[in-house]
């Protein structure tokens, strides 16, 4: 039954475009879905390896820009050498977005995991800021704050068999499919040998090394997968909104992802989804209730504080505990860990 339940949920979600006629609701579901993909990718790093990347939006933005630029084509001069790319098919641009973001993740991982903890956080923030500054200032390539416009929507096949993802119902199906695939990829990793290795290095890095785990290797793998997935989310965003400007690199988006992961429950598969649904829908639901904007944000903030205060490990672990008949927040393991182990 419990194996069957998630698929039932997927089928239910997949049926939404057939009966939901309100495009506004669909729009919220699409953006929430894209955010959930990004949050899931962050969770792989933050939840499973314990590395807090506060520059995660960089990978999202790199994916968005890569896909936009390749599908639009561009012409730049690098040190007076002209370099141009003709417009490429959107599916190819999206694929390249995933690869470029993944490659960036590899480079950052190699660089940043020489330093851990607080230093990694700083490196990741700086990286996202640098990428944002490039997007703002390299006007020749990115149009800077004027933004890249008229980004084509994804179409697959030709003629009679053409499948267009321009309209909301079809795009919703695409986003949902990507989210489901992302979830499966993460579940596979987490339940594999690599997943156990990541778990071990999060709990006790030096001990993980002494049982033979190549710690750096698994950190880099996690970063590549995580960055590639965030890049995919960015590519989806680009071809949905069809306009991209340097604001995609704003710090607030990273914060939103972190909030989704932490409130939902980091290090759990369902956590980012639950967190994403709550913080994707709550602002919209408040707006729909015609509450004043300033009150909306106060409610949003209070909700967040309440969750973190009463369910410090997140909503999903709290529910699991409740099911197992324990009080939420009752964390025997954490309390009796010897002081030396709590870093």
């Amino acid at each position: 039954m419990s194996r069957f339940l998630p698929w039932l949920l997927v089928v239910l979600l997949a049926s939404v475009p057939f009966w939901m006629t309100d495009y506004y609701v669909l729009h919220i579901m699409i953006t929430t879905c894209i955010f959930i993909i990004a949050a899931m990718s962050l969770n792989l790093l933050l939840g499973y390896t314990g590395q807090l990347s506060l520059g995660h939006v960089a990978f999202f933005g790199i994916g968005a820009y890569t896909s936009a630029l390749l599908s639009l084509g561009f012409q730049v001069n690098v040190f007076n050498v002209p370099f141009g790319v003709t417009p490429k098919p959107v599916w190819f641009a999206m694929l390249m977005a995933v690869i470029v973001a993944g490659f960036t993740g590899w480079a950052i991982g190699k660089l940043a995991f020489r330093v851990r903890g607080a230093y990694f956080v700083i490196v990741s923030i700086s990286f996202a800021e640098v990428v944002r500054m490039v997007a703002v200032n390299w006007v020749e390539l990115t149009q800077g704050p004027m933004a890249l416009n008229n980004i084509p929507a994804l179409t697959l096949g030709t003629g009679e068999f053409e499948l267009s993802f321009l309209r909301k119902p079809s795009f919703y199906s695409l986003a949902l499919a990507v989210a489901v695939i992302s979830y499966i990829i993460i579940a596979r990793i987490v339940n594999s040998r690599a997943g156990r290795a990541m778990n071990a290095l999060r709990e006790n890095e030096s001990l993980a090394m002494s049982v033979g785990i190549d710690v750096t290797r698994y950190l880099v793998i996690a970063t590549i997968v995580s960055a590639a997935m965030a890049g995919m989310a960015g590519a989806l965003y680009t071809h949905y909104i069809r306009i991209v400007d340097p604001d995609v690199f704003l710090f607030i988006y990273t914060v939103t992802m972190v909030i989704m992961v932490i409130t939902g429950g980091k290090g759990t598969l369902a956590g980012p989804i639950v967190g994403g649904v709550i913080f994707g829908f709550v602002p919209e639901a408040l707006r729909a209730m015609a509450i004043k904007p300033e009150i909306q944000w106060i409610i949003y903030g209070v909700l967040m504080i309440l969750i973190v205060y009463f369910l410090p490990r997140g909503i999903v672990p709290a529910i699991e505990r409740f099911w197992a008949g324990q009080k939420p927040g009752d964390d025997e393991a954490a309390r009796s860990v010897p002081g030396a182990l709590q870093k």
Binding site: S206, L207, D214
Partner: protein
């Protein structure tokens, strides 16, 4: 089996081990004793690959492992039971043991080893589904030892196995170590409890501020006047 030649280890500008040479023969139980800061733990870290040495060389079964990775060293057959009862606190007892045989692929043999560990450590069997962080200090030490044994080491390194344990567990731990040696695994043990270590070992090395001060059989060191006055309190 294991040989250190002029091992030098530095933490930044501080030299913790200054040209240490020692040998561990197959089947022996060798003790490394000395005060805090003598360089005992550093030596073990260098052997297990957690701290790259700055000079000298380390040989295991004729292979130079001076610059080998921790993973490589473990796969050659050196396992470490680190200081301070290190376990993975949120993993269950069983999962901790699984991490111990992370590099092994022989599933049936692993299953047999699990049975053997649970037989040898009944307390762990009772608590196999409990998070390791909820075990008592002594039980965590048992788990750390069992986890190291799961890699089927030829040489076991123990770092301060008795540190911070209740008296009855101290004795228990030393019994286990004697047993491990009796079953054919060579043991190199770092221990502050000098008397206990000297009584149970075949050979002992005394470290003083990073250098070798004395070596000999356990009995010889116990009878040595310097050791008696400085380490055995008369």
């Amino acid at each position: 089996m294991l040989e250190l030649r002029d091992l030098v280890c530095r933490y930044g500008k501080v030299t913790a081990v200054k040209g240490l040479s020692l040998k561990v023969e197959r089947g022996q139980l060798v003790a490394l004793i000395g005060t805090n800061g003598a360089g005992k733990t550093t030596t073990l870290k260098a052997i297990s690959g957690l701290l790259p040495p700055s000079g000298g060389s380390i040989w295991f079964d004729g292979v130079d492992i001076t610059r080998a990775s921790a993973r490589k060293i473990l796969s050659l057959g050196i396992a470490q039971c680190p200081e301070g009862r290190h376990v993975f606190p949120y993993m269950t007892v069983t999962e901790n043991l699984e991490m111990g045989c992370y590099l092994r692929t022989d599933k049936q043999e692993i299953a047999a080893d699990f049975e053997r560990m649970f037989e040898q450590f009944p307390r762990l069997a009772e608590r196999r589904l409990q998070p390791a962080g909820t075990l008592s200090g002594g039980e965590q030490q048992m788990l750390a030892i069992a986890r190291a044994l799961m890699s089927r080491p030829k040489l076991m390194l123990f770092d301060e196995p008795s540190l911070g344990l209740a008296p009855n567990f101290v004795e228990r731990t030393f019994d286990i170590i004697t047993n491990i040696r009796a079953n054919g695994t060579t043991v190199l043990m770092v221990e502050q409890n000098a008397l206990a270590a000297l009584e149970m070992c075949d050979h002992a090395y005394l470290l003083e501020s990073g250098s070798l001060a004395l070596s000999g059989s356990g009995a010889e060191l116990i009878d040595n006047p310097h050791v008696r006055s400085a380490y055995l309190a008369g």
